[in-house]
């Protein structure tokens, strides 16, 4: 059994139990209105990283590294990465996606999110630049 299956029967039973429970939960979800969109979002959740985010950041990173000395690139990719991460997680406020709903429920409007994201990004780039300058100075003087 082990030779053909590739693991112990406990491995198989644990997975069958998990898949059965997950299938139960998915069947419950499929009874909800808009279940097609739930399936789409589940599939999209895998694709978003593997087919969009990962190829995008890997390509950008390889371009940034090309022909440059090791260590140089971190001063760029860390602040750029954090800025991109803020955009990814707060895309709805930065791009005013939920503003109409927000105004209806809260009576207030959203202002300045894109501007604050740009300001914080600029601060990150300036801080990384200052750090690079300070380190290269102290490196050349010693």
């Amino acid at each position: 059994m082990k030779e053909r299956y590739g693991a112990s029967p406990l491995h198989l039973l644990a997975h069958l139990a998990a898949l059965a429970l997950a299938a139960w939960a998915l069947l419950q979800a499929l009874q909800l209105g808009g279940w097609e969109r739930i399936v789409l979002w589940l599939a999209g959740a895998i694709m978003l990283h593997d087919m969009v985010l990962w190829p995008a950041y890997t390509t950008l990173d390889r371009l940034a590294r090309r022909g440059r000395p090791a260590g140089w690139v971190n001063y760029v990719r860390v602040p750029v990465g954090i800025s991109a991460l803020l955009l990814l997680a707060f895309f709805p406020v930065i791009c005013d996606k939920g503003e109409r709903t927000y105004m209806r429920v809260s009576g207030e409007s959203w202002e300045g999110y894109a501007g604050r994201w740009l300001l914080v990004s600029a601060l990150l780039f300036i801080a990384a630049g200052a750090l690079y300058l300070a380190r290269s100075r102290s490196g050349s003087s010693s």
Binding site: A14, L53, W54, V105, R116
Partner: protein, 410 residues
């Protein structure tokens, strides 16, 4: 069958940082964060007390609902659990991305399943990745009022969480020994001592590059960058969860405006001036006979003042001084001793949250009020004038506004 080109070939992978130890560290950090998110998520489900009245937002027959009464203290309990849920969820995003990066060569392994065991494991991992991404994406969109998904968020988020928990449990059973082996052979923290110059690929493991590039960042550097990303997301949002002056620091939080935030305006709830005018009556039911009280009657009853925190499911909170009639006092006026439940009805004409059922302990708590004044001022219409509920530790939306009826049940 021939191995397809590109990422399916082992030589494609160049990072010298990938390996079982790196994955174990990222996986351990992610496990702690996602455990906090999952536990607080199910606690939020329990805090809505789905077994009472029509409180259930997910199917009321769903198993593993609540087997304890949600406590009434401390008053910031729900603000804490839900603040943890939303903020730990945000903090987990960079760790999740790094974890996926560390194992992505496995996505392109050839053949796709080496054994049946490998195949079933990968099916479970697909469910884990799908549910984690689904929960993150819908959670992030929902907290920012972007209802782009067009399905019932609460139900879908709940069932996806069940998929996530079972898929994570089986993943742990399989991978915990792999992680422990990596920690034992390489030391839990030893690889963090190496700077860029001393960073070497891990000696073995199926995600280790066969022809790695020279390192451009150390392992501790990678973890610091991930931590920096997590910190940025935390600072961007956490102020709305803590409230007070920190709210302004939360530079991307949806609820960063100061003052006393309105969850839903009267206009949004379709409550009009006519509904709360001179004709307003509060109906007390459950006793020998129905009792009608005008706003002046309510003002003439004994009042109490308490400073309590109101926490929203979206992860923001506000602390206010509330003045009103204790619910226990209203139960006595209605002629019901120690009610087992209280069904609160709103004047709001529609919506699932136009009513909420409170448990015995919540009605009995001396700090549970039918609020007439907040911060020493009469309630504004948007905050629930003429009367709203405040119960310590209760999820925000169950503190019903524009209360029209109280039905005490024994």
């Amino acid at each position: 069958m021939r191995t397809p080109p590109g990422p399916f070939r082992p030589g494609f992978w160049k990072s010298p940082l990938r390996g079982p130890w790196m994955t174990a560290v990222l996986g351990s950090l992610l496990l702690v964060l996602l455990a906090v998110v999952a536990v607080t998520g199910f606690l939020s489900h329990a805090a809505y007390q789905p077994d009472l009245g029509r409180n259930a937002l997910v199917d009321p027959d769903v198993p593993f609902t609540t087997f304890f009464d949600w406590p009434t203290g401390p008053s910031w309990l729900y603000a804490l659990t839900q603040g943890l849920h939303v903020n730990a969820g945000l903090v987990a995003i960079p760790v999740l991305l790094a974890k996926l990066w560390s194992v992505i060569p496995r996505l392109f392994q050839w053949p796709p399943a080496r054994t049946p065991a490998d195949g079933i494991e990968r099916a479970a991992i697909a469910l884990l990745v799908a549910s984690t991404g689904f929960l993150s994406a819908t959670g992030v969109a929902n907290m920012q009022y972007w209802y782009v998904f067009h399905f019932d968020f609460v139900k879908a988020h709940y069932y996806a969480a069940v998929v996530f928990v079972v898929a994570l449990a089986v993943h742990l059973v399989v991978k915990l020994p792999v992680a422990l082996r990596a920690y034992r052979s390489r030391g839990v923290l030893t690889p963090l001592r190496a700077g860029i110059a001393e960073t070497r690929p891990e000696p073995d493991g199926d995600t280790v590059a066969v022809a790695p590039d020279p390192p451009t960042i150390s392992r501790r550097g990678l973890l610091a960058a991930v931590g920096g990303g997590s910190l940025a997301l935390l600072v961007a949002n956490a102020g709305q969860s803590v409230g007070g002056p920190l709210r302004g620091v939360a530079f991307l939080a949806p609820r960063r405006a100061g003052g006393f935030p309105v969850n839903k305006t009267a206009a949004g709830a379709k409550v009009t001036d006519a509904m709360v005018g001179a004709g307003y009556r509060l109906v007390l039911r459950g006793g020998p006979s129905e009792i009608m009280l005008t706003l002046d009657d309510l003002r003439a009853l004994p009042q109490a003042t308490h400073t309590l925190t109101l926490g929203c499911v979206e992860g923001w909170s506000t602390r206010q001084q509330w003045t009103g009639v204790p619910l226990a006092e209203l139960a006595r006026r209605a002629g019901v001793d120690e009610p087992a439940e209280l069904l609160v009805g709103s004047l709001q004409p529609a919506g699932v949250l136009r009513q909420a059922t409170l448990a015995r302990g919540q009605v009995a708590d001396a700090r549970s009020l039918l609020v007439l004044r907040a911060g020493g001022e009469e309630l504004t219409l948007d905050h629930g004038y003429p009367a709203r509920i405040i119960v310590p530790g209760l999820p925000g939306v169950h503190n019903t506004k524009w209360v029209g009826s109280l039905e005490f049940r024994t």
